[in-house]
């Protein structure tokens, strides 16, 4: 079960010709796949393309009707390898992942499929996680397209253009026997817009037909001598075929004025930002009506030399607007112009920054330099704003309220006081938030599932062991072999903490092999412990994360035991975000049926809290916050649990195990209490009331309180 339900979105996948599809960019892509007669879809979830995967996971009926096979791949490599189905057969297939991280993982299979080439259209949908809000290293997928010779589409960010790109992408792939990448930036994936839908298409050729009539062509297999042939084919046949198709179908667009001494060449995905920047400089209206010639590269690889030469021929200077680095397009265009012996001056990274996201402000500044605009008045910064800027506290991402991963790092922090700090190799996943305050734990992260491998060099004689962290998502992605298998084989003596929260949580709560829930269409409940033991690890412990004392004890043992070999600790508790989503409807139903429901919430006694905030430094729960001290004599804010508390109990555990203070309490709120609850409560209240009145009287007599 994913983070969101897509029931409503699934309905829009059924829209037919002429209907208005209204929704998110990545869902428009999903619909476009069905309109293109795709036979199979695979991928690995991750922002910003998770929703494509999630909606198809929920759309079993539609997929069955159309005969489309959808697979939640084990990794991007698995997904990319799926494209092998399009090598021998006229099957259209699409795979998707987050880039560039996913493309890194997939590149082995991508290189192979690009070498042999494809018969059926093969489309790779890339969620380019670059710029604001990005959680990965800042690189370009462009490099992968170039190195494997895969065509790269970067359409204008409106739903009609995106959907056209999907359909044309398949055709281009088939016309040039080359896989095609469709690159969508993060905000484009999440843009809400509309387009005119078409009917869904059943594939002409089915997977079943292929399986029952296998075709074989040794020339498509990457092995000598065919691999030498592939390189020649790429250059002599596929490339010209692609150029021809792109030109003929006008995939790139010439917009704006027809003539002018200055022109712009831009990646399609940046077009809207460009128009806004021009608009702000009074060079365009908001519909994109402008006198400035703009050559829009909806295909950023390969470039079309004829079109570029034609565009530049009558211009004195042309600005290349290309996000990210290195400046592949600018370099290529310079080469094209040199070969054509054109003297048009090429601007690009000279007026625009080499690195960083091209936002409206950045483009506006670059355009001002390019067009030598000087009269535009920039607002001077206000002194009050300058004064404020230094005071704003940063707000780093962190673990959710009640997150079961928090106790893991609390335990590590507490043990640090006892055993000294250890080298900690982190992984990709929510648990990576450990590197941020308040935990400040972790030295490196080397990629998804690579937490254990990232510590593998540290197999020297030492009085300390390293700790590697790995999530259950990363474990099944590749950590099982790259981490655990590697540690067993190389006789590592270090500790591996596998955080098993039942979902691929950071990517949106998708099910994985070890998920505890039953899934109608996937095989779940395969235990991590069995897999680890199967590889030959003998020291394996499972711990419930919220049991902080046990968590610490087990980790202490892992770090200090005399036993040799890798120590694997599986920290288990359900992802709280998903747990709440699972429980909320159940609780609501029980309440409306008048059934007894116990809700738990934690709190801090204001009178006994002295405002040291050790509890916060060891927990960091969003619901554990501070407020003004109600005590007129004390000046430090007190800890306070707000009403978003989900009652996981970690703050209480911390206060207990770290022996902080007696201020934490758990309140159990019983809705629809039973007759027994009511009776016993009345009895208790009577007795307690008697004593309370007694001590209140004594208090009244000696103090000034009324």
């Amino acid at each position: 079960m994913a983070e969101r339900s897509f029931a409503k979105e699934i309905l829009s996948l059924r829209l037919g010709a002429g209907d208005d599809f209204c929704g998110e960019g990545i869902l428009a892509v999903t619909k476009a796949l069905l309109q293109s007669g795709v036979s199979y879809v695979g991928g690995y979830q991750g922002a910003p393309i998770s929703h494509l995967m999630d909606v198809l996971s929920d759309a079993e009926d539609i997929l069955n009707e159309l005969g489309v096979h959808f697979e939640t791949s084990a990794s991007e490599a698995s997904a990319a390898a799926m494209l092998a189905a399009s090598v021998n057969y006229p099957l259209r297939g699409a795979v998707t992942w987050k880039s560039t991280v996913g493309t890194n993982v997939a590149s082995d299979a991508l290189a192979n499929v690009a070498s042999g080439g494809v018969t059926g259209g093969a489309l790779i949908i890339i969620g380019e996680d670059y710029g604001e809000g990005s959680s990965i290293m800042q690189e370009r997928s462009h490099a992968f397209a170039m190195k494997s010779q895969i065509w790269l589409l970067d359409p204008r960010p409106n739903l009609t253009s995106i959907v056209d790109s999907v359909e044309k992408g398949f055709e281009l792939s088939e016309a040039s026997n080359t896989p095609v990448m469709l690159e969508l930036r993060i905000r484009t994936c999440h843009v809400f817009g509309h387009f005119e839908a078409k009917d869904n298409q059943k594939p002409d050729f089915t997977l079943q037909e292929a399986m029952e009539n296998p075709q074989r062509d040794t020339e498509r297999i990457v092995l000598p001598p065919a691999n030498f042939l592939h390189e020649q084919e790429k250059i002599n046949q596929r490339w010209p075929a692609a150029i021809e198709f792109i030109k003929k179908n006008k995939l790139n667009e010439f917009l704006g004025g027809a003539t002018g001494v200055q022109g712009l060449i831009i990646q399609g995905g940046l077009y809207n930002t460009l128009i806004r920047a021009l608009d702000l400089l009074d060079l365009s209206d908001c519909f994109g009506n402008t006198d400035i010639p703009i050559y829009v590269l909806n295909v950023t690889y390969p470039l079309i030399p004829d079109e570029i030469v034609g565009f530049c021929a009558d211009k004195k200077s042309v600005l290349i607007i290309e996000e990210g680095q290195p400046d592949y397009i600018e370099q290529a265009i310079n080469t094209i112009l040199r070969r054509a012996d054109l003297q048009t001056k090429i601007s690009g990274k000279d007026v625009l920054p080499m690195a960083g996201e091209y936002t409206g402000q950045v483009l506006k500044n670059g355009l001002k330099t390019f067009f030598a605009i000087t009269d535009d008045q920039e607002e001077a910064s206000l002194p009050a704003v300058d004064a404020m800027n230094t005071t704003l506290p940063p707000r780093p991402a962190g673990f959710c309220t009640g997150c079961p991963e928090r106790p893991v790092f609390t335990a590590m922090k507490l043990l640090e006081r006892e055993l000294g700090p250890a080298h900690v190799s982190c992984d990709i996943g929510c648990h990576l938030f450990s590197i941020l305050p308040p935990f400040n734990i972790g030295n490196t992260t080397m990629g998804y599932g690579l937490g254990a491998a990232g510590a593998s060099a540290f197999t020297a004689p030492s009085i300390k062991r390293t700790i590697a962290i790995m999530g259950d998502g990363g474990f099944w992605h590749n950590g099982l072999t790259s981490g655990v298998g590697n540690a067993v084989f190389n006789e590592s003596d270090n500790v591996l903490m596998i955080v098993d929260n039942g979902y691929s949580a950071a990517t949106g709560g998708q099910d994985i092999l070890s998920s505890r829930s039953k899934n109608k269409t996937r095989s779940t409940r395969h235990r991590i412990e069995d897999a680890v033991r199967g590889l030959g690890v003998t020291w394996v412990r499972r711990v419930r994360t919220y049991d902080l004392a046990d968590m610490m004890e087990t980790l202490r043992e892992a770090l200090t035991t005399k036993q040799k070999g890798p120590k694997v600790l599986i920290a288990q508790s359900e992802c709280q975000l998903n747990r709440q989503r699972r429980l909320k409807p159940i609780v609501r139903r029980m309440l409306s049926q008048g059934k007894r429901v116990v809700r738990e919430q934690f709190g801090v006694d204001a009178e006994t809290c002295t405002g040291d905030h050790s509890c916060i430094r060891l927990s960091g729960c969003p619901s554990l916050t501070i407020k003004e001290n109600p005590d007129p004599l004390r000046q430090d804010p007190i800890a306070y649990v707000d009403n978003t508390c989900v009652g996981c109990g970690h703050c209480g555990e911390v206060a207990d195990v770290a022996i902080l203070c007696p201020s934490f309490y758990k309140a159990q709120i019983i809705s629809n209490p039973s007759a027994w609850d009511m009776t016993i409560t009345k009895v208790r209240q009577a007795v307690i009331g008697f004593f309370q009145r007694k001590s209140e009287k004594s208090l009244r007599l000696r103090t000034y309180q009324s």
Binding site: A47, P48, E132, G133, I186, R187, T188, V191, G193, Y271, T273, I275, R276, A277, L283, G288, G360, L382, A384, V385, M388, N389, T391, L392, P394, R395, P396, A397, G398, F399, F433, P437, A549, Q601, G603, D605, T610, D612, S614, R617, I626, L633, P637, E653, A655, D656, L660, P662, F664, K666, A667, I669, I670, S671, N672, R684, Q692, S695, Y704, S706
Partner: protein, 507 residues
């Protein structure tokens, strides 16, 4: 040629924290615009940023009628100087939107909730870490074309609604969008989810935004100083003493202090407190506004009411506490609330509560101490709303009458005496230093390791004081050391400052 007065899209940026319903609000605005004949687009960046970080939702709308069949090219990101409306669901996030340049004096309506969701750096400070939000107020006043700000979290709480509904109401009230109030309400009704409470929140937001606009010059009133809340004077010896002997500027704090010591122990204890304060007053200086009496009055009361097991147990059983918990949890009459307390007494706490000779003996008998300690390895969960737990706490709190005989009492009062002696010794020669010494009590707080750490830092600073010769700048040195002690848990900053001080002495 491009016309200067051409139509442009209306743009709205929403800065929200994860879980504050920024997506819901965006959907409402887009739906509202659509039903009013506008073309609309919205984007967001969900994902990691949403896990408790901030997300910016961005919306652009354009009237279909003015588009004349053309499709406007909507931007995907807000551009500074081009944002008509900025909505911020938290005050520092409003500040961040201003920092990003999204709020322009000639254009932008800023609608922001003035409540705070504290950042981790503010929460995890070892003392007062809350950022003063005055600078955001000033920046907002200076940079917004029009500003609507009030505590929307509270408005949501009061109407049983959510902050997104209040923000939507404030947006309607701001008149920054060309739509009628009824269209806003229809949007909520048509969504079909929690319509009643959302409408209540919406209307409250609408009302408060209008009021806010009507009285734009008025800034939020400063809160009443907390001291005033307590001074319920009664005509008796002690309160008369406070009124008669002490200058006006000290009375309030001394009333609170007296009351606190009375609450803690008994009349004699309160009288003892005032007796000590009288001594301090004789050393004080009117010209300096009696800062010494005020500071010692505050910290002596805090120290004298140190948190021992008796004190904690006493708080745990008060009726006020149970009422407060019921209120905090939002429990209704038909619900039952049980309270479970998390406590972890150590052998030290046991010693503290024992008669002084016994406590001292146990503290200095390592083997017995370890034996007891092993029995106290695990924390206790006390069911305070059940008879067993309540009566246990009641029993402990009743030990109040023997408190003066406990080991802890002797230890703490010896420390207090020492501290007071230092203050008195210094007051005449270096007034500021005496005040700073008094304020160092702030370090000694909490329980267990926290208390031990604070006491250690306090002792280190007093040690440094003893090692220093007479120096006009000592007061500022002590202040710096105190700040350093609160900078980190491991005491690294304090150690650094102490080393620096030592080096300075050596030179």
């Amino acid at each position: 040629m491009i016309e200067r007065d051409r139509p442009r899209p209306l743009s709205i940026a929403i800065a929200a924290l994860g879980g504050q319903g920024g997506g819901v609000l965006s959907n409402w605005i887009v739906t509202l615009a659509g039903s009013a004949g506008y073309l609309a687009q919205y984007t967001s960046v969900p994902g990691v940023a949403q896990r408790t970080g901030t997300t910016i939702y961005y919306i652009e709308i354009f009237p279909k009628a003015k588009a004349l069949g053309q499709e406007p090219v909507f931007a995907l990101n807000p551009v500074p100087g081009d944002v008509d409306i900025v909505i911020a669901s938290e005050w520092m996030e409003a500040g961040r939107a201003i920092q990003r340049g999204l709020v322009s004096p000639n254009l932008t309506t800023l609608i922001a909730s003035s409540h705070r969701v504290y950042a981790i750096s503010e929460k995890s400070a070892m003392g007062q870490g809350i950022v003063d939000d005055k600078s955001v107020h000033e920046a907002a006043q200076a940079s917004a074309h029009s500003l609507i700000h009030f505590d929307m979290e509270q408005a949501a709480h009061e109407t049983g609604s959510v902050i997104s509904a209040v923000l939507f109401g404030a947006l309607a009230g701001s008149k920054a969008l060309p739509f009628e109030k009824s269209s806003f309400e229809e949007t909520i009704s048509r969504s079909g989810i929690a319509v009643e409470t959302n409408l209540a929140g919406f209307n409250e937001g609408y009302r408060l935004a209008k009021a806010n606009l009507a009285d734009a010059t008025k800034t939020s009133e400063p809160e009443m100083p907390p001291l005033e809340k307590i001074s319920v004077h009664r005509d008796d010896q002690l309160s008369q003493k406070v009124q008669q002997i002490f200058p006006k500027s000290c009375r309030e704090i001394l009333m609170v202090g007296t009351n606190r010591t009375l609450d803690y122990q008994d009349k004699a204890y309160g009288a003892f407190y005032l007796q000590q304060m009288e001594d301090i007053l004789t050393l004080d200086d009117t010209a300096r506004g009696h800062r010494l009496t005020q500071t010692v009055g505050r910290h002596l009361a805090l120290w004298m009411t140190y948190e021992d097991t008796i004190r904690v147990a006493d708080f745990k059983i008060r009726k006020k506490r149970f009422d407060h918990i019921a209120q905090e949890t939002g429990a209704t009459q038909n619900q039952v609330v049980n309270v479970v307390d998390y406590v972890h007494p150590r052998v030290e706490e046991i010693c503290d509560s024992l008669p002084a000779p016994l406590g001292r003996a146990l503290m200095s008998a390592p083997r017995t101490k370890r034996w007891v300690g092993r029995r106290l390895k695990k924390g206790r969960r006390i069911q305070s709303s059940k008879l067993s737990g309540f009566l246990l706490f009641y029993m402990i709190s009743s030990m109040r009458r023997w408190r003066r005989g406990t080991y802890r009492y002797h230890v703490e009062h010896a420390r207090i005496e020492d501290w007071l002696a230092r203050i008195k010794q210094t007051a005449s020669s270096d007034y500021d230093l005496a005040v700073e010494i008094a304020a160092c009590q702030q370090l000694v707080k909490g329980y267990g390791d926290t208390h031990a750490r604070g006491l250690k830092n306090f002792t280190l600073i007093m040690g440094a004081l003893d090692a220093s010769g007479p120096d006009a700048k000592l007061a500022s040195v002590i202040r710096r050391l105190r700040d350093a002690a609160l900078a980190d848990e491991a005491g690294e900053m304090l150690q650094l400052e102490l080393t620096r001080l030592n080096d300075a002495h050596a030179e």
